[in-house]
């Protein structure tokens, strides 16, 4: 018989291993216990409602519970044929294009300016970031005064130059632009801060070396600063596109989607279909279509960024 008789050393090893495993199990349990409060809330208030929403999208459920039961894909078919859905989706994409580009380019420009070492840097930093801390209601409150066609500051200034008053929020041609300007003013601080932090992480020696090699300020900007900021730009771009696609509150309060539905976002259309139009099933279907779109956008960006960093 070759029954292995454990040597004292082997026994000790085994005991330690068992102890380690036990300790590890203990750690895992502790870990779970710490994670549990979040996990429970996450499942209860995110996973369950999301799955329930998916279920609702296949039903004719209404706010009053008077709806028909399962309707299969009818809601999705309806949504795809609904011109108002497409219109609000178009508005959302248009808003995303109009807002994302300046929110990336301008925030970089502002960060570069502040990083130049202007006197009173803290004041610039504070004033660019402060609006971001305001609640959307506050932002909307004073921008709607600024935009007021007869009493507003903007038209008041324009009038000094002899310009005709503009109905900023009521003219279908400029309403979206006004919303974008408000959003820009309100949210640019966050991107600005990310850029500023990244800028301050670029080692000073690189600039010194470049300067010795005879590179001017512009050459330094394009050969050192912008390439070094690529990961930050990728992050900002991803966050910004997702945030812009989900736009709702400032538009809802500034224009309520008007004039002529020109600023109605897809999120507002989902809200209206469900909560004021009472069709929960239908609004769930649109929100799932929108969800798919967001996932596709996120995936596309992920691919693009990966390819760029691999190259």
């Amino acid at each position: 018989m070759s029954t292995a008789i454990d040597t004292p050393a082997a026994t000790a090893e085994k005991v330690t291993a068992q102890g380690k495993a036990r300790a590890k199990r203990g750690e895992t349990l502790t870990g779970w216990a710490f994670a549990a409060p979040f996990a429970v809330l996450f499942v209860l208030f995110l996973v369950v409602p999301a799955l329930y929403g998916l279920y609702l999208s296949f039903t004719g459920e209404t706010l009053t519970g008077a709806g028909s039961g399962l309707v299969g894909l009818a809601n999705y078919g309806d949504a795809l044929r609904d011109p108002d859905m497409w219109k609000s989706l178009g508005n959302t994409l248009w808003f995303t294009v109009l807002s994302t580009i300046p929110l990336v380019v301008l925030s970089l420009a502002l960060a570069l300016l502040v990083n130049l070492g202007l006197p009173g840097r803290w004041l610039w930093r504070l004033s660019f970031f402060l609006p971001y801390l305001l609640a959307s209601t506050v932002v909307v409150m004073f921008w709607s005064w600024m935009y007021n066609p007869t009493l507003g500051l903007i038209n008041g200034v324009l009038a000094k130059f002899g310009a005709a008053p503009v109905a900023w929020l009521q003219d279908p041609k400029v309403a979206m632009l006004s919303v974008v300007i408000t959003t820009l003013w309100w949210t640019i601080g966050f991107n600005f801060l990310l850029y500023l932090a990244a800028l301050q992480n670029i080692p000073e020696q690189q600039f010194e070396a470049a300067a010795i090699d005879g590179a001017g300020k512009w050459r330094q900007l394009f050969s050192i600063v912008i390439p070094q900021l690529t990961p930050t730009t990728a992050l900002i771009l991803t966050l910004q596109i997702l945030a812009s696609l989900k736009v709702f509150d400032q538009i809802y309060m500034l224009t309520n989607g008007g004039p002529a539905g020109k600023t109605r976002s897809i999120v507002q259309y989902i809200y209206e279909s469900g909560f004021t139009g009472y069709r929960f099933g239908y609004s769930s279907a649109i929100s799932y279509l929108f969800f798919v779109l967001i996932v596709l956008v996120a995936l596309a960006q992920y691919k693009l960024i990966n390819r760029r960093s691999a190259a």
């Binding site: 008077a66 009493l151 009521q170 309520n256 004039p259 002529a260 209206e272 069709r279």
Partner: protein, 429 residues
């Protein structure tokens, strides 16, 4: 549920642990039968008056205590009320615009009032104007008790009117041309505008004026789910064109929104002002020389857009008969004190008050006291009414017309197309 004590918090935690929170929270389960919850959407001056009325009724020691909850006007209020009713956990009594009853009664979100119990607290059909009482019904049952009628009216600056020599003409005008003529004369006096009317970005305001004029032509708008909208396009185009002609930056500002219009009129920069009766307190507080009239009959038929604040019984899964009785008493007591409510410009629905000497002495309120006889509410359909998407759809399609750049016929067609789409869909209530 309002005072959250440590004990209460622990109880709630225990209930949550037992999974009983959802059932445990239903009103009626723990509240005293003498506590009434009352939801409404009245803020500003109206809110103050309503709070005073609730306090007065509570102070009368009638065996109950009502607590009011004030929510934001419009969609937020109506969505919350619908959801509370759908869940069966609604307040004991709530305010609802008469124009919204058609959206709430068919889905079982409201419960009808019992006529016998109403009689016990002294309220009868004969105490209300016929058209108002009728609008409070759905499918032959009474779902609402009207507190008031609040129409769209014409205010004018008495000093300007005198200077322009149009005071009598204002009271006697019978056609769109006469209206334009008077407005032009007033414009010459003020040097700025003849008329103030705030509408930009506000679907309700556009709807109120246009619907008044449209109904004055004798036209109707009938909306029945499953059928195309029955409308009179000629009348619609005629009245839209008239509104467009007024908003020419001479007679009235093309870019007038609510705040601008009120401020312009208050500062004497216009002679007439189209607005709801609820604007009256602001105008009176400014101590300006103001009078008010029903909107003159310009298109042949006497008609006015109006709505009513009404009391409704939202659906509760557990009804306490005692509390329900208290609600009847509370409503009757508020109605009997509604001359206070009339101070805010509204026309009391309760006839003993409307006919009282005290109300008749209120000026200019009693000038338009006859409007309930020719009142027109929004078309009876689930998606119409105060603060509804219906008015937004109207604005979406006609704001350009009002602004002068849109074609009235095309704007109206767009509105009707939107209505038809809604009528074509399965009714969700």
């Amino acid at each position: 549920m309002t005072d959250l004590s440590r004990r209460g918090l622990l109880k709630a935690a225990a209930a949550l642990a037992g999974g009983g929170l959802l059932v445990g929270c239903a009103p009626g389960a723990s509240r005293k039968t003498t506590d009434l919850s009352y939801w409404h959407l009245l803020t500003g001056g109206d809110g103050t008056v309503m709070a005073g009325l609730v306090d007065a009724v509570n102070a009368a020691n009638l065996g109950f205590h009502a607590t009011q909850t004030v929510l934001a006007w419009g969609a937020p209020y109506y969505t919350k009320l619908a959801m509370a009713s759908a869940g069966g956990r609604a307040p004991d009594v709530a305010i609802m615009h008469a124009s919204r009853i058609a959206g709430y009664a068919p889905g079982g979100l409201l419960e009808p009032w019992d006529l016998d119990l109403l009689a016990e607290v002294g309220l009868h059909e004969s105490d209300f104007p016929a058209r108002v009482w009728e609008k409070c019904q759905y499918d032959g049952k009474l779902y609402a008790i009207a507190l008031d009628t609040h129409p769209f009216v014409l205010y004018y600056n008495t000093e300007h009117a005198e200077k322009a020599g149009v005071t009598d003409a204002l009271h006697a005008m019978k056609s769109p041309d006469e209206f334009t003529e008077i407005a032009t004369k007033l414009q010459k006096v003020t040097g700025k505008h003849g008329l103030s009317y705030g509408y930009l970005g506000d679907g309700a305001q556009m709807w109120r004026l246009w619907y008044t004029l449209y109904k004055q032509t004798g036209a109707d708008m009938k909306l029945v789910p499953g059928q195309p909208a029955e409308v009179d396009k000629d009348a619609a185009v005629k009245t839209l064109t008239f509104v467009q002609s007024l908003l020419n930056d001479t007679i009235a500002s093309r870019s007038g929104d609510g705040g601008t219009a009120t401020s312009e009129f208050l500062h004497g920069q216009s002679g007439m002002f189209l607005g709801g009766v609820w604007e009256l307190p602001v105008l009176k507080d400014a101590k300006m020389p103001v009078d008010a009239l029903p909107i003159p009959t310009l298109f042949g038929t006497q008609a006015a857009y109006a709505d009513s604040h009404t009391f409704v019984l939202p659906r509760q899964s557990k009804v306490s008969p005692e509390r329900r009785k208290h609600v009847y008493t509370m409503v009757a007591e508020i109605l009997k004190r509604s001359v206070k409510w009339a101070g805010g410009g509204h026309i009391p629905a309760y006839q003993p008050v409307a006919k009282s000497a005290e109300y008749q002495a209120l000026k200019p309120q009693s000038n338009y006291a006859g409007i309930p006889a020719s009142v027109n509410y929004d078309p009876d359909v689930w998606f119409s009414g105060a603060g509804s998407d219906f008015q937004n759809y109207f604005a979406e399609n006609v704001q350009n017309v009002f602004l002068g750049s849109g074609d009235p016929a095309a704007g109206f067609d767009g509105f009707v197309a939107r209505l038809n789409k809604l009528l074509d869909r399965p009714q969700p209530v």
